[in-house]
Amino acid sequence: MGDPVVQARGLVKTFGRVRALDGLDLEVAAGEVHGFLGPNGAGKSTTIRILLGLMRATAGEARLFGGDPWREAPTLHRRLAYVPGDVSLWPNLSGGETIDLLLRMRGVDPATSRKGDMAERFKLDLTKAGRAYSKGNRQKVALVAAFAAEVDLLILDEPTSGLDPLMEQAFADCIAEHTGRGATVLLSSHILSEVERLADRVTIIREGRAVESGSLAQLRLAQAGGDENASLEELFLRAYQS
């Protein structure tokens, strides 16, 4: 395995007196699906925003493809796709326009992308105006834009929170296709069963700090004394109750 695709060491981020991140470590290896777990307010989104160069860390180091996300954001971003947790769209742009915009800004030609295929799989009407989409459909617009091109890294912040079970299945298939060709996925989620099914390794964070990191087997060893049947949910709760 080569250099990690995503690497954060000792990330600290303060907002006034609030310490959102408190020495967070995160490492995502090439080709893996990495589950990023934590309750609301634990610092998942803040971490992602620092990794994307949207925010500057107060202290610590963040690397993306070995580069500095703060300085080289646009170059690095051409290799990734991002789905925010709470997708809001431009009210007067259609879903199709929004997807094409995002693809073109990543240097992808929508005509040669898999946009049509993805829209069909997610059953997305591309002609609606942004204001007319429901929460789930807004999410799908961002997912179609993310999955339509072959990127090296997918950063997904609670990507399935508004999706129905059928769409969750379509989502899982897309993840499998992308990892099948060697892409890396950073998947922040609350849905532990989904992470358990998709993720190779997970990092659990608590109050801005990683409390557990490793494969499910490693976590079982550390938290449940090697209980092979312990679900991710049990492991997660244990990490929080200890």
Partner: protein, 521 residues
């Protein structure tokens, strides 16, 4: 449960949300009223002066179009309130468009209306609450303006009648806005329709007053503001016209509301394009796409306004010469027509620029900026697109105004019509300065973008009231709108233009330096 259940709770909620904008807007209007009322009597030495001035002003079609006619040259109040009767009443009415739209269609578009609708709140309560709040605020504003006039030294009866015209304008504007907000599912389109209704009513009156086609003025509620004759021999029954129109508009809105679903509009939402145009590939493309309809509407509006007023402008130079002693009052009434129109349009165009900046701030709050900046788009691209659309769009609109004036003025046989374009260019540094300050506020902190509106309000107050209150010249000139020469009413001066351009560049540069290094969102 009636369809109005919960209205009073919503009114309280609305008032709480409007606790800054509504008092501030009304305060500005009241300050204008006091200052205008107090300043006027000191401007004439004799009644003969006043009469001659009032008559010669009333002979100018363009001034009648802009401010309405002066029906009784003997009435000091009518002269004193000439700007406020129609033009500022229009500005005041904009508040009600903003408030009604904010509490009805914006709530539906954002989905908050569903949250509210799921509680013990009737179907018509949100619209009813918005109307109740705005009618109440209209009455309050009218009373305050009447008191302001009395405090400023005008006669009590006239002031009260005058306040009544403002109440009427506010009620009609509120009702027209709630009607407009039923039409489209887009809050922006609804706002544009409401603004169009008000602008249309103003235009009809402007044509009627400008061409002395009084019947046309009577068709517009803004015409009633003058025709009520608040200051001498008032026609009280005109007030009933406001009531009748308000009721009619409200009934129409209620009927339309009954024919649509929550979030829906009567104008069917057309399906959009399944694919984006080729140029929709960068932050700038996005900014153009998002703002293009607004920019087109603005272009048509300022171009048409320029041409219409340009056509009515010739001949004003003669007035300035013939009145002589009244130079100061003419200056107060707006100087030469072109300078007067441009001073108003420049301030209004600034609103366009600030809107673009607050939109960019909204994109950040809604995490749409995150999606853009997580692609190959750079920060400089995002900032540059916002700055270019805001600043470049403002420059474009000023040029269009200038060209419109040129065409209208030239067609009507005015001397040296191309000077209108130079005059429009002369306002650019001022507008750029204020928009750059809005950019700086946004760059300091996205939530501060609204400070741009406060900056604009302060400068407007300094410019419009500062001279009335005889504040020291250097204080008034702190406002860019007072610093630029009122060309062609005054001589062109390079120094303030260049200084303001330099300030705008400096402020814009600071904004970029800050934006480059700050957290997004």
């Amino acid at each position: 449960m009636s369809t109005l259940t919960g209205t009073s709770a919503l009114v309280r909620q609305n008032l709480r949300r409007d606790r800054i904008i509504a008092p501030l807007w009304m305060l500005v209007m009241v300050v204008f009223a006091v200052a205008s009322a107090a300043a006027t009597p000191s401007l004439f030495t004799t009644e003969a002066d006043q009469l001659e001035l009032a008559r010669s002003l009333d002979e100018q079609p363009a001034l009648r179009a802009l401010y309405g006619p002066i029906l009784d040259p003997h009435a000091v109040g009518e002269l004193a309130m000439s700007k406020m009767t129609v033009l500022y009443a229009l500005f005041a009415a904009v508040l009600f468009v903003i408030l009604v739209r904010r509490h009805t269609r914006v709530e539906e578009e954002s989905g908050r209306a569903e949250l509210i609708g799921s509680t013990v709140v009737g179907r018509d309560a949100p619209a009813a609450a918005a109307v109740a709040e705005c009618l109440g605020l209209s009455v309050l504003l009218g009373v305050l303006v009447a008191v302001a006039d009395i405090v400023g030294g005008l006669d009590v009866a006239g002031s009260c009648w005058f306040g009544l015209t403002w109440i009427g304008t506010g009620c009609v504007a509120s009702a027209a806005s709630v009607l407009a907000c039923q039409l489209s599912s887009s809050a922006r389109t609804c706002g544009a329709i409401a603004a169009g209704l008000l602008g249309g009513a103003y235009l009809v009156r402007a044509l009627g007053d400008g061409f002395r086609a009084t019947w046309l003025s009577w068709l517009s509620p803004f015409g009633w503001n003058t025709q009520l004759r608040a200051w001498s021999d008032p026609r009280g029954w005109v007030a009933l016209l406001y009531v009748a129109l308000t009721v009619a508009l409200l009934v129409a809105a209620r009927v339309l509301r009954g024919h649509r679903d929550l979030g829906g509009g009567l104008l069917a939402a057309r399906p959009g394009r399944p694919a984006g145009a080729r140029w929709l590939a960068s932050p700038l493309g996005l900014s153009v796409r998002v703002h293009r309809t607004m920019l087109v509407l603005w272009t048509v509006a300022v171009g048409g306004l320029g041409a219409a007023f340009g056509a009515m402008a010739p001949g004003l130079d003669d007035v300035i010469r013939s009145v002589g002693g009244g130079q100061e009052l003419i200056g107060r009434l707006g100087g030469a027509m072109i300078a007067a129109v441009l001073s108003v349009v420049a301030m209004v165009i600034t609103c366009y620029g600030i809107t673009v900046v607050t939109h960019a701030a909204g994109d950040e709050a809604g995490e749409r900026a995150d999606m853009v900046l997580a692609t190959g788009a750079s920060r400089v691209g995002w900032f540059g697109a916002t700055a270019l659309t805001a600043l470049g769009g403002s420059v474009w609109l000023l040029l269009v105004t200038g060209i419109g004036l040129w065409i209208g003025y030239g067609a009507a046989g005015g001397p040296d019509p191309s000077g209108s374009l130079s005059a429009a260019v002369g306002w650019m540094p001022a507008v750029l300065c204020v928009v750059a300050l809005a950019l700086l506020a946004w760059s300091l902190r996205p939530g501060w973008a609204v400070v741009g509106w406060a900056v604009l309000a302060v400068f407007l107050l300094l410019t419009l009231v500062g001279e009335l209150l005889k504040l020291p010249g250097w204080v008034v000139r702190l406002s860019p709108y007072s610093a630029v020469p009122q060309y062609p009413a005054q001589a062109w001066r390079w120094t303030p233009e260049l200084v303001l351009l330099a300030v705008a560049a400096l402020v814009g540069g600071c904004a970029w330096l800050r934006f480059r290094g700050r957290d997004i969102g």
